[in-house]
Each structure stands twice: as C-alpha cells, then as structure tokens.
C-alpha cells in the first residue's frame, strides 16, 4: 500500500506538476524571489529593504508573513461586481499559470507529459492568462480595472507575435518542437547559435510576465493595481502571484531553449532520483529570474504606446529576421 502510494508520488506524472518543477517549487520560488527583488531594488536605491522579519537573515521570511496576512484577510466581494468572473478568474488564471509546468522536462528521462509539441503547448497555455485577466477587469466593474484590462489586451498583441516567432526560429534551428529534444540537440547553447531570437524571446517574456519595465497593466502609480484593483485577501495574493509564476515558467523555457537546459547533467544526483538531475536547470532559471527582477531597479516603466511600438516595429521584424537566420543556418547545415 505504502509502496504503491510512493510509486504514484514519485512518478513523473505526479512529481513533475506537483513537486518539481510544479506547485511546491513554485511556492518556494514565490516566497524567495519577491524578497530577492525587494532586497536588490533596495540595495540599488540606497535603502535596506525588508529587515525586521527574521533579522539575522535580513528579513528572508517577509513574504511568508505577507502571504499569511493575505490568507487571513477578508476577501471582500463588492456589491457592484459581476460575481462569477470576479471570483473564478483569479483561480482560473493561477491554474493556467501552473498547468504549463506539466510539459516542462527537468531531466532527460523525467518528462511528466511527453508530447512531441511541448513548446507550443507551453506557450499556448500561457496565452490563456491574458483572457482571464481581462475577465477580472470586466467583472470588477471599476474604471481602473477596465483601463488595466484594455492595457492587457493591447500588451498581448504587442508581445505574442514576437514571442511565438522567436520560439519558431529555435524550433527550425533544432528541427523539433519538443523541449527535451531541443536540449539534446544543443551542442552549443542556443543563445550563441541564434542570439537574435534569444533577445526577442527575453524581452517578449518580460512583457508577457508583466515585469518591469513592462508592468504597464498593473501601473501602480497610474491605475492603482489595474485589473486587480478590487481584489483583497487571498484573491489579491493570487493575482500578485500570477506574474511571478509565469516568469518562473518562462525562465525555465528560456533555459531549456537557449541555455542548454539541464546540461551539464550531474550524474550522481541523477542516479539517486531523475528529477534531481534538474538542479542545473533550476539554478540557471533562478539566476535568470534574479537578473530579471534586478531590472526593476534599473528601468522606468514604458508607456503603452512605446511598448506597442517596441513590440511591432522592433521585436517582430527582429524575430522574423531570426527565423530567416535559422533557415539559413539549417540550409548551409551548421546545425
């Protein structure tokens, strides 16, 4: 009986989405990366940042305290909102932010759901989130929410074409649409093979996750919290988490596509349990996330029209160029 349960728990189909790289790891990432973000921003801006929650570690469990507070706060449902979308949308959004982790391989023989199209499935599932955010905005029945929802709609068309085209370039380069096969095909990291595609994917990824300099949708100083204005309590916690969960998923995908994934594999850890072979993948993705949250302290926010101009006039042509480049590489047979 116990053996059977353990077998289920340690099967890739369960362990992948629920423990690593899925739910449990997502929670740990959320708890740490927001603290790291605040600490880094504070260091650059001549401040100290969170300190007094567990002072010896520099306030490391600040997010745990914040999370607990969200959890026990009242979730107020205003009378004027459309109740079903208002309550359901954050939950659906979080579900669709977690779901892509089922298609992320963490080690050569540890693939939760092995499909030959894991990359388009991953990207496709992420494109559902903007719809839920627009549902939140519309359901909230609030002027700031509506503005945020419209910004989200505009942003979606700004980055999606460039993101998918950049990913397509890598698919052509490696000749596959599967993450695991992409990693195996990478002798040289993809970022060196097609740096143009990597750059476009990186910026589009920031736009998609709504991280600075593209947190136009939330726009704290302009429209309160955009689509999330009316939320309180645990639902607010969920809406704040979506961006970070998306960011984590995208950094994992970026690592798999451009930074040669779990290579170099540590055989010793991989032999104990295949998922432990994904340590390198996680480390690279986490470092990338730290760099991305560091950008918060460097950049100011782009205006909506600037972001759209960047998306269509710079990123999209560059991504087409990267596809062309990938085709040329393929034809002359470099990869």
């Amino acid at each position: 009986m116990v053996g059977e349960i353990l077998e289920i728990v340690f099967s890739p189909q369960f362990f992948g989405p629920v423990v690593f790289p899925g739910l449990v790891t997502v929670l740990l990432v959320l708890l740490t990366i927001i603290w790291v973000e605040r600490k880094i921003a504070a260091r650059v801006q001549m401040r100290v940042g969170p300190l007094y929650v567990l002072k010896p570690l520099g306030g490391a469990i600040q997010m745990l305290a914040d999370g607990l507070r969200f959890f026990f706060q009242e979730f107020i449902i205003p009378e004027t909102v459309d109740k079903l979308p208002f309550v359901a949308a954050p939950v659906v959004a979080m579900t669709f932010a977690i779901l892509p982790f089922a298609f992320i391989p963490v080690a050569p023989d540890f693939i939760p759901y092995s499909v030959p199209y894991s990359m388009p499935v991953f990207l496709g599932l992420n494109t559902v989130i903007p719809l839920t955010i627009i549902a939140m905005a519309w359901g909230s029945n609030n002027k700031f929410s509506i503005q945020g929802g419209i910004r989200e709609a505009y942003m979606t068309i700004a980055y999606e074409a460039a993101l998918f085209t950049a990913a397509l370039a890598m698919a052509i380069t490696y000749g596959t649409l599967d993450f695991a096969e992409m990693v195996e095909a990478q002798g040289v990291p993809g970022i060196l093979v097609n740096p143009l595609s990597a750059a476009v994917f990186f910026v589009a990824m920031l736009m998609s996750a709504g991280k600075l300099p593209f947190d136009i949708v939330e726009g704290e100083q302009e429209i309160v919290a955009g689509p999330f204005t009316e939320y309180s309590g645990i639902a607010f916690g969920l809406t704040m988490g979506i961006g970070y969960v998306q960011l984590y998923g995208f950094t994992l995908a970026f690592t798999l596509m451009y930074l040669s994934g779990w290579e170099p594999l540590i055989p010793f850890l991989h032999d104990i349990y295949p998922a432990l072979g994904g340590v390198m993948l996680f480390a690279k993705a986490y470092l990338l996330m730290v760099f991305i949250v560091f950008l918060r302290s460097v950049y100011g926010r782009y205006r909506l029209d600037q972001a759209l101009r960047l998306g269509w006039r710079r990123l999209f042509p560059l991504s087409l160029l990267s596809v062309f480049f990938a085709v040329v590489l393929r034809v002359i047979g470099v990869v």
């Binding site: 260091r43 650059v44 001549m46 560091f294 950008l295 302290s297 460097v298």
Partner: protein, 158 residues
C-alpha cells in the same frame, strides 16, 4: 523637444550602473531604534513644559494652527494647564514663541515614534516630564551627518 536616441549601448550602461550599486551599495539608511542622528542644541523638537512658570494664559492653545495644544482643567482647580497632542503637532513653534513666561521650550529630542495613538497625547501631568529620547534610553548609537565628496551626505558615529 529633441529626443535622445536610446540604443543598445544606453541599455548596457544602465544595467552596468545598476550592477555597480548592487555590488557596492551606497546606503543612507539609519537603523533607527539601534542608531539615531544626534540633534543640535537649538533643534526644534519635542516641546518641554515648565509647571511653575506657567500662568495659564492659554495663548499657546489659541495660537496653535494645528489644534495640537489644548487646555486641561481639573475639577475644583482654578488653573487650566496646556497639554499637547503629537498626532497633530507640526513643530511650528508658535506656542513656544508666544508664551509670555517662557514656560514652553524646545528640546533636541525628536522621536515621534509611538506604539499606539493614545501614547501621543500628553496631558499636563505627562507634558511636564523631562524629555529623553526613547531610542537613546535603550542604548542607541548617536550618529552625525557629514559631507562626503563622493557619496554626498553620510552618517558617522559621533
């Protein structure tokens, strides 16, 4: 308006500047309950009240623009005496200026940090107490502000 061209070089420069401060932070934070900034003798901080000099003219309560000063009168007593509410006080010093007998005076303590709102109200009995900085009472280090060529204002131990 001429627009500055922002290319790859500008982005790299911005990130490099950020990294510079990340590696070598230039913090100006004073860790308040453990450290305080020493204030000069003539600083316009918390107000001290002299019980014996006061003639109960209530000019201080009248002049106060923020309504922080209020006269308290106990039953059976003829004299009303001023009390202060630091929730409201804006440290303008009108009460100190107008006091005809110099019963009110400034101190160089300025720790307007309280645990509850009730503590910020000082009736005459508490108003008369000598001011001691609560942080310094608990052994906070006193810092002073000096100018530094590279970093601007810095705090060094006194």
């Amino acid at each position: 308006m001429s627009r500055r061209k922002v290319g790859l070089r500008e982005h790299v420069e911005a990130v490099a500047t950020g990294l510079k401060y990340l590696v070598k932070p230039n913090r100006i934070t004073v860790y308040y309950p453990e450290e305080t900034i020493g204030l000069g003798e003539r600083y316009r901080g918390m107000i001290h009240y002299d019980w014996d000099k006061c003639i109960s003219c209530s000019l201080c309560a009248m002049i106060c623009p923020a309504d922080a000063m209020k006269m308290y009168k106990k039953k059976g007593e003829k004299k009303a005496r001023p009390g202060i509410n630091y929730q409201r006080c804006i440290f303008c010093g009108y009460c100190v200026d107008i006091c005809p007998t110099n019963a009110l005076s400034f101190t160089n303590v300025h720790d307007v940090a309280y645990e509850s709102l009730e503590e910020m109200v000082y009736p005459p009995e508490r108003f008369v107490e000598e001011w001691v900085s609560p942080a310094e009472k608990e052994g906070a280090k006193r810092l002073k502000v000096v100018f530094d060529e590279e970093r601007g204002l810095v705090h060094v131990p006194e």
